[in-house]
Symmetry: C2
């Protein structure tokens, strides 16, 4: 047994990559190889989150070691043998627990929420909504802070603060606003 299993089967804490990979396994009907998983990532979650190619090969065996996935070797002629991975029940409940747990989301930028949302089909609706609201609120209050900074940044009279501060601040504002708007739209979607 490799590290991190606390007691018999208490809560497991995984890295983001581990959760993501596990989440992907959880969404599949049939086992998959590391190689194919990488391709799947590229054509799906890729735009939110993407690990380095070797990371996948490191994480998969680790999941097996923790009893969250199983591995089966498939021999092939004409091409290299491959390892097929499949999620276990314990794996499923680990993903589920992660998806449902509220993140202490002081920093919404890291977009764990987005990753979770991507796996929404495996999650509890209510938990998702709760987290989406937290996400939106975090960005909203950030937005408020940025806006309050604006006059100070534009303050060219004092000579010190310059146009560049204002420029970058505007970016922060634009991003935050986009996030808030999107979150509201998403919440409406989920409500239907």
């Amino acid at each position: 047994m490799t590290g991190r299993t606390i007691g018999a089967r208490t809560t497991v804490r995984l890295t983001l990559t581990e959760y993501a990979v596990l989440g992907l396994l959880g969404g599949l009907a049939r086992p998959i190889s590391g190689y194919d998983l990488r391709k799947l990532i590229e054509s799906s979650v890729g735009f939110i989150w993407q690990p380095s190619k070797t990371q996948v090969y490191v994480v998969l065996p680790r999941l097996v070691g923790m009893g969250l996935a199983t591995r089966r070797e498939v021999e092939q002629r004409d091409r290299p043998d491959k390892q097929l991975y499949r999620i276990t029940p314990r794996g499923r409940s680990a993903v589920r627990a992660w998806l449902d747990a509220d993140e202490d989301s002081s920093d919404p930028d890291r977009s764990i929420l987005l990753l979770k949302l991507f796996f929404g089909a495996q999650a509890d609706r209510q938990a998702l909504v709760r987290q989406l609201i937290a996400f939106r609120d975090a960005y909203a209050s950030r937005l408020a802070v940025y806006r309050s900074m604006r006059p100070a940044a534009a303050d060219t009279a004092a000579g010190a603060s310059d146009e560049f501060t204002a420029l970058t601040l505007n970016y922060g504002i634009a991003r935050a606003r986009a996030a808030v708007d999107w979150a509201n739209a998403a919440l409406k979607e989920l409500d239907r």
Copy 2:
């Protein structure tokens, strides 16, 4: 001499944090302590980039070791002594070189550009504009990719792809669009 000085005074490659700290030093008229620098960060670049508090104390001496900053100790009664740091000419040219160099910006998200722009007063205008354009274009082509993925994501007929993929994709689109719009506005600003 600590590592990284290649030859006599060839180009120095620093970490992002090092550049950022150096950039801050470069914008100041008088030397500053690590403690005050942290506070300065909080009330300025903070919204774009923020290192952990201890990181500052690690980086500052390192800069001194590389000859990019100098340190002077100031004794104080009634409160702990402090170290004041000031940028050196070599430090200035290091920041300058960094600011002016084009980033191979496959990943615009890391927002090195934003940090650079924040230090715009110390940079070459043309170089800045060039990089801003690259930034915008990177996001624009990303935006195009996302948009092309949209129908596939919405494809609930096939049963496979679900609403959640579409939802997260929308976020990517919203962000990218915000970035492009902002970049265009910023370019207009810089043109005046």
